[in-house]
Symmetry: D2
Subunit: 364 residues, 4 copies
């Protein structure tokens, strides 16, 4: 590193599919946002070398390997990014942390609360920076919502309702891996529900109890197609949480609404650049694209929207800033502790569906 230049950080990534692509693109674009560390794309690992090689070439990864152990052992690597399938989140991530690499892992963190807990503890013990990939926290409108709640702009929160609705579950082949127990672990709950649970924790606080129904409707599906829950947060807020892959007409409708004593906020991920704000009669549609809005100083003039993939750039910018500063990614990014806590809520939802009781969210 020459004097005056941005220092670099070596990155190794596991995975080359949906998340592999989103992460690669974000790492490449990061330099455009003046990060405190410039990522060097050292290596990409995947079981299918040819498929991984295509992604590596497209995005500029240096090496392609089929065994993540090589990455963990690689001295050039300071950050290990796990964008692989849920079933291979724990072992490589723990291995990397123990080798002293900072770690980023996609959500859901582990296959269940127990595994997530192990991952969190391992990263903590290793003393590395750890972040879990709840990227919706890095939507400017979501960050603005958090600012508004924190500042008291909507007063005391009383209700939170979120629903994450998709419809592709009706039409996908029933043997798609998303519907298998072994590879996916969970269905709508872990895939979609985890996102809204994390958002509720980020925006309102810890969940106290849940009462839930979890359902598999389609013959051949081994995991849940949908869940619904009535919930209470520790501060007395009540609300509903829902996710489904069977909501015809809904493509990727991830929405929440927060009602407080002084105002309300509503959001829909399909309209990523908008926040509905009630600070008087009705809701106003605020385009969250002004230069003073979170992250928007890096982007375009007002009204020129950013995309879903761009949230990953913010997410990694945040991570590298924490690494450069020697700190934690909390509170704005999800740590592994957050990833674990979301998993406990998911487990409580499953317990409630089985027991028919209101289940407290507990932590080990």
């Amino acid at each position: 590193m020459a004097a005056g230049e941005t220092p670099t950080i070596g990155v190794a990534m596991l995975g080359y599919s949906f998340m592999g692509k989103a992460h690669s693109r974000a790492f490449r674009a990061l330099r455009e946002l003046d990060p405190p560390l410039l990522p060097e794309l050292v290596s990409l690992s995947g079981r299918n070398r040819d498929a991984a090689a295509v992604v590596a070439r497209r995005y500029g990864w240096g090496d392609v390997v089929t065994d993540w152990h090589e990455q963990v052992a690689d001295k050039r690597v300071q950050l290990f990014d796990n964008g692989g399938p849920n079933a291979v989140h724990a072992e490589p991530t723990i291995g990397a942390a123990r080798a002293g690499k900072h770690v980023f892992c996609e959500k859901p963190l582990g296959m269940d609360a127990e595994e997530s807990h192990t991952m969190w503890k391992a990263a903590e013990e290793a003393g590395v920076v750890h972040q879990c990939g709840f990227n919706y926290r890095f939507v400017p409108a979501v960050r603005l919502a958090r600012q508004m709640v924190e500042s008291g702009a909507i007063g005391k929160v009383v209700h939170f309702r979120a629903r994450y609705l998709q419809s592709w579950g009706w039409d996908a082949p029933v043997d798609d891996w998303h519907f298998t127990k072994a590879r996916a672990g969970s269905g709508a709950l872990g895939d979609l529900g985890a996102h809204i649970i994390d958002l509720s924790r980020y925006l309102v606080g810890e969940l106290a109890t849940v009462s839930a129904e979890v359902k598999t409707y389609v013959d051949g599906h081994e995991v849940d197609d949908a869940f619904v829950a009535a919930a209470e947060w520790e501060d007395g807020t009540i609300g509903t949480l829902e996710a489904s892959r069977l909501a015809r007409g809904r493509v990727n409708s991830n929405t929440f609404e927060i009602n407080g004593s002084e105002g309300s906020i509503a959001f829909d991920v399909e309209r990523l650049n908008e926040l509905q704000v009630s600070d008087g009669p009705g809701f106003r549609r605020v385009m969250v694209t002004e230069p003073e809005h979170p992250f928007m100083q890096y982007w375009w003039p007002p009204g020129h929207i950013i995309g879903w993939g761009d949230t990953f750039i913010h997410e990694f910018h945040h991570l590298l800033t924490a690494i450069a500063g020697g700190g934690t990614v909390a509170p704005h990014a999800a740590t592994f502790e957050d990833g674990y806590r979301v998993a406990e809520v998911c487990d409580a939802i499953l317990r409630s569906a089985a027991s028919g009781k209101r289940e407290p969210v507990t932590y080990r």
Copy 2:
């Protein structure tokens, strides 16, 4: 009655406030829809004679009385309409039924499931026509939704979610009667929740179980400000039900969405003349104002909307048609049995909130 003319039916009404006004207006307007019986507005009863007299003059009620017993004893009366406060639903309505009058009673039917059951049984034993005032069934868009579900247009239903959100609870005086136990009996649950429970029964079918939270947030309120519930219907549909008087920015937002295997439907009572229909990618906004849409043959050219108050005209037209035909108002209007069944769901929600368990909806 001269040959060829429409026969008349004598009507007596209890109540002169919000519902008294809505009912009076509807009875007056009814002749414009060629009903099989023409209502004669025989008498209006209310404890405050002067206030009642103002309403009577405005809408053309013949007599004003302060004791509903007079109406029950009045030979000119064939239909008794109870639009009074919840606490005076049961006794006058039962009295009228036993006197052989057909009966209409506003929702919620009784103060609880037990009282509602007594009212239903009394009306049945008396052999009179009975209808409970769930007027949202008489919104053309809601009736169209029912037609679509029944015809199989959206396939097998898997989800139902409804929320009835208002915000006036923050600003109204805490000693307003709506917040008192004695006069209101229930809060958001009985006032708003009853409507969406009835709609779910009309559109999907009987509820099997509920898991709920019920909350009073505002100091001085004796009844619930809000509730949330995760529910399952007998056919395996799962969904959420919510109501609140504390949702800032929401005036009278009574919305539902139904997801089926072949399509979806969504509705908002603030946009009473619209139905959102998904029968392909996305939802289309259907103006339910075409001549072939339910009830619209009585109204205006397409796109010229009707109002909330007009649903009562449809409701009474339906009632008088049943009376004239000697039949029941089922299935399109709520009978007293429906009113009772809704009350059982409300009671199950309260039980669940207290017990912390998924409570089955049971009937005595």
Copy 3:
């Protein structure tokens, strides 16, 4: 009239079709709004006695006549309401005015500017109260918009854009009378355009110039299917005006937007009870259903919408108030002068389409 009672006013109406129905309903409902004069429905005239008789019976008109001269000569009549086809607006209305009756006439006032001018002058000379049926001025949201503009809430107006789009022109029989020159006189311009021109005059002020295109697309149509215009108002506001019967997907989409130096307002008649208001970032959806909103003290609790037909009740309430007070219906209702001035704008649009020039709006 007994002491303390509301005095009455005898009304005769011409027409029994769409407007005949809307007017009849409004006159019947008027007593519910405590008007200063109670309408007595003396007689209804129409060329088809049987069809007129059906309407008369439904709404309670006393006599049915086939010759409007009888109404003009009737001593019981103090108000003559012309809700008939455009071709019979002028003669009966002028006759009634000369006989000393107050006159209400549907829009467009005359078949063209000249005829409209004659009607206005005749009513003025007769010294009667005269009102032209631009009912959209009586939508609470529109009246609120006017209040906001007048109060300076949106600052100096710079733009006005309005479009009134329907689609039935594609599917209706080509020999429908609306498409004939003799009976309709004008097409989208006179039928739909007149409404938005009147609204622009009510909300912004007088039009100075128009540059327009007027088109007939469908074979067999004798009148215009659509027009577009670029316009300037006397205060320097510029904007666009459009109407079409050929806009697929649009049922009755009558929308306007006003942009001022301090804020903006937008409205859509299909969402009659809503006003979109920008008084900061974005637009907020204001439900114009609060008791302090124009006319809403007569109606329901917030969020319970009124219908299109109810605007006529407001319109006649306003008229009877002016008659009782001995004044004019200006500025909130359209006088015959307003009806005439709208006709001059329509004529200027036709002139511009023919001349290919920006045409000033001139008055005789």
Copy 4:
């Protein structure tokens, strides 16, 4: 270039501000979309070397120069991209073309129709590939709209209406260069109007005539703040075109609607990933994010939106494909001829505003 690898193309860019940033980002990202040529970012030119150097470092441009002549003379450069201010579009672009470079130039092409014509002719004579930066053609929803129109899905087009509304003109300093004649040349017309004129040509066809008003409202502004036009296209379509920088509440509201004999389409650039489609009652909101939608095979699963900046990636992908194939960018990208033709429409609008006449759009 090694065997089997993607050949490269040397790119030089002029400009480092808004467009400089958008273009740089797109060139960098291009390799992720498997383009037929890989851009090598040879040099960036700008009058302010330090400012240019910041952008160059961020996006990876090789050299920084202050004189574009160096770029024109540079043998390593095969493509010259002009993203500078309007006043420096012509000379460098013509110079580059004459030097045999392929040329891309931002919109508006020249300062007026004459200059645009010269640029077009120069590029044609040089035999290079030329493209003008109307990036909205590369919004997937816009391309889908074009496909629908071409395929006859909405039948014969009868109306086109577009408005491009912003509001920053009220609050920006009056001496901002956008409001100066010398540097900006045009105001809302050239900046915003050019976009919607181009879209109308892309979606409907050539404009035949325009009748317009052009206004400057704010003291100190030298260019137009707003324009309105009534227009007719060569195929008989009529419609309106408007743009304003003074529309309070509108941030970057670039919307159009096309009505045809069989259906309609509507679009808003603030909701870039949505197309409103009417192919039956009402409009359906189609998320244009399915893999089969234009360009979306390069992006994310359905419902995960792309951003405004991503349209430039599509735009350059298209350009490089044309260069690699030895063809033209027509019809899907705008050529310099298209840039010129848009300028003629702008000039006709100015002529009409001055003459008060319907002006034909003519070409030299």
